[in-house]
Amino acid sequence: MTPFRTPAGGRIDRGKPIRFTFDGLAYTGQAGDTLASALLANGVHLVGRSFKYHRPRGIVAAGAEEPNALVTVDRGGGREVPNLRATQVEIYEGLTAISQNRWPSLKRDLGAVNDLLSPLFPAGFYYKTFKWPRSFWAKVYEPAIRRSAGLGRAPKAPDPDRYAQLYAHCDVLVIGGGPTGIAAALAAAEAGARVILCDEQPEFGGSLLHDPGATIDGKAATEWIAESLAALGRRDAVVLPRTTGFGYFAHNFVGLAERITDHLAAPGARQPRERLWQVRAKEVVLAAGAIERPLAFPQNDRPGIMLAEAARTYLNRYGVRPGTRAVVITDGDSAYRAALDLAAAGIAIAAIADTRAAPPGPLVDAARAAGIVVHPATTIIGTEGRRRVHSARLAPVGGGPEDHVSCDLILMSGGWTPAVHLFSQSRGKLRYDEALGAFVPGTSAQRERSAGGCRGTYELDACIGEGHAAGREAAAAARRSPAVSATVSGDAPAAPLPGGERSSQPGDAERGRDVAGEGALPRRKIPKRAFVDFQNDVTVKDLALALREGFRSIEHVKRYTTTGMATDQGKTSNMTALEFVATSLGKAVPAVGTTTFRQPYTPVTFGVIAGAARGDLFEPVRRTPIHSWAAENGAVFEDVGLWKRAWYFPKAGEDMHEAVARECRAVREGAGIFDASTLGKIEVVGPDAAEFMNRLYTNAWTKLEPGRCRYGLMLTEAGFIMDDGVVGRLAPDRFHVTTTTGGAPRVLHHMEDYLQTEFPDLKVWLTSTTEQWAVIAVQGPKARDVIVSLVDGIDIARDAMPHMSVRLGKVAGVPARLFRVSFTGELGFEINVPARHGRAVWEAVHAAGQAHGIAPYGTETMHVLRAEKGYIIVGQESDGTVIPADLGLDGMIGKTKPDFVGKRSLARPDMQLADRKQLVGLLATDPKVTLEEGAQVVEDPNAPVPMRMLGHVTSSYASAALGRSIALALVSGGRARKGMKLFVPALDGTAQEATVTDPVFYDPEGKRLDG
């Protein structure tokens, strides 16, 4: 056995030694140990260096609230987790744990020089010191500060583990598996409720696990726990150990993080590392317990100084003596229990210093009877010992002679803080309880109730009673309101619990509530190095400084000093800080208020939140029916929304520029084939379809003949361009509407909105058909020649099927909707066939086109060709502030229509201004220069900064057809500037000269549309 292990007792398995390493040194613990208890059993107290001053730090607590003992656990292969609390890490054979924030080693840490320099690092130090020169912040100061101040490092390798997620529903969710939670779960299950009970620890029982003398219903506590869990099992309750209720969200949606393999030496290959439970509970019982408060006395952060109840836990639960000679400093009764238990285990209690003038009660009497010296009205004014405390300096409250007491352990107890985190997250209102000196749950906002320690009830019998009542009430409430239904009122106030008087610790009423202000901290004399927030290295002096500098709101004090902002979110520090601020300002604690508790209760992994949504499953990928052909034929793809689109088809040895130039030439001179399947498609059907189109699009549709198409422009109600696309009228009551690739869902939603809520009298049916049709665009002067042999039942001769028409027939033997449309300026067809035939028809067209030099082309070529023609792309030439007139599309507006969505807005005075940004062409003076898309356009690049921006470049390409670069731009009053020279500044300080032109660069008369 290790040197500080007791000969017997505790819940560890003494027959199972476990070997592990800490900072490379080998140690042995026992099965059931945490890393913290195993280190203490080996006499290791120095476990970390503090955040800012690199002060040696030891283990303070025994649970989730631990502020100091943060370690990195490295399982190899990228399985490296920083900032784990040693108090919650279960040891397993071969565990490799590493301390953090020290270099070169924990014992000799060069960063400790910060501690000597500490007078230079007060609160707000960063804001005050690193102001000049400005450029030094990002490059010099911040990286240096980040290196020397900090926590563990994030792992660099990808996380190789798997994480599971599931949804669960229950009548009653009980969070916290101590005596209160077990009692609540049992009562709820016995009342017939479906119950989930979870606890963050590997073993259920909470405080009972370190209270071996406790009895419940006349049974030993351990027996009661086992029987209760068995009873829960018989009633099919879901009982989840190692599961933290970390977040309480709206409508009783609670996040639980279950750790499945972190405690195993050799996890099964098929086991996920963690599991996210997304629980929707009809009722929630919070039984999260309470957290002991440290005291803010000078040098209260030395290794060997810990919370009294933590020492009791190490002794009773883990069979570890955390020291040999202890001094106890307290302002309440519970520390006496720890002193008594330690004394019984043979640990000398040198003294109990109690800040109360006359500590009353049976526990105090028991301590005296056990021969322990109790000093009333005594406080602690300092400690000594660098890597481990070796003495305490005691003095009477209010001043007097000092007493140096040698010790290697100091137990502190500043009272208890109910763990109201989840209650607060549920948006419940906290209430300050004067007698307890703590915030407790007040008004509920959701269907939950708190019981036991997290409600400020600490006596075991009372906790069990409250737990039972809460469980019973929760089950009944769940029955009354069978669903979390919104329409069912869920606002019944939490039922009153029995024992209306809060049972608190005996003697708590006389608790010296002013310890933080007066006892340990003599008034007006601010102690040095009295830490309030251990994890963020915030001292009483820092808080005092913040107040002196004028900070009054607790939220501001918190942010200025960073108290409560570390990974522990101030579990041990918030109340101490709050009381100090309140006392200093002469206000009551509730008048100062408390900061908001936010999710998560303890840190959760990114992995468990991401679940399976990573790598290939990060988001869905949409592929067209022709995708596989493009992939086989060497296409380079680009992401457009969720779609994979063929970007260009390079031949051997071609770069992108060469490939695009070749594809462009093929379309302009012969024929090209393009996969346009991603176009959004909506079938608008019904007797009122034309009227509906009239109201949703700017154009007039009534007179459009079946078999004809029209370019449709859709506006938002505010008059701005929202979407566009070709619309074909197939029949008087049927339109084939196309939308932009990215706009399809938005357009359908917009149409449904108006149809359902503004024009419900119209008889129209809307159906998304985007994925039902494969769309094959054949463009170029030879397009008709390419498809003529494949078309069946349609006369595609020039006059029989003019530009902007649509016909039904067959293409390559497949039923097709054949459009004669062009997005290139050339003669063009778009063949719509059922998606399942897409690839076959594509291949047939491609084969038929071989005689005409057909080339597959991608989205880049499509963009160049349409830009040469000045055709806009919504979202590129428009940005949500652009109206039709800005783009020269006034002609698309049905002037005689009394109304359409957006029409009234176009009449607003702002829409008539002459200096609106208008679409123009921009030709760089140097034809080889392709202007930067998104770059600003200015009159004079040498004007003083900030100079006036006239607009920006929206599209810019090298045009093979024109043998030079071209660009489109939105320029203020642009149409009146034609012929003017403007400038496009680049990021490197140079500026390109360019001439404003008409936006149509190629074939402005449109002669080529007929081939």
């Binding site: 709206a250 979390v484 919104a486 329409t487 939603h749 809520t757 009394p898 029409k903 607003r908």
Partner: protein, 93 residues
């Protein structure tokens, strides 16, 4: 994540829905007759109440229908939901 009451399908999780802004803002029968000020107010001016809020939702991954709901913006509790076109219910404050 909220539980949203669809008047057609019942209680469903929020991920099935799309929020659609405040309810009972009627588009004028003849927008052309509105002054610029009234039209701008229709387009842009919205209340942001603390407490009861009448709002539109669409069960976009369910029945696809728009409906109205009354939700308390402080507690997120839905106190009513009803079909589009129905009158705003009287809700005691």
């Amino acid at each position: 994540m909220l539980i949203v009451p669809c008047p057609h399908c019942g209680d469903r999780p929020e991920i099935e829905f799309r929020y659609a802004g405040p309810a009972h803002i009627e588009r004028a029968q003849r927008p052309a007759e509105l002054s610029d000020e009234d039209w701008a107010s229709y387009l842009y001016l919205r209340d942001n109440p603390k407490g009861l809020h009448f709002e539109r939702w669409r069960h976009i991954h369910g029945c696809g229908r728009f409906f109205n709901a009354a939700r308390d913006t402080v507690s997120d509790r839905f106190v009513a939901s009803y079909k589009a076109g129905q009158k705003r219910p009287e809700i005691p404050r």
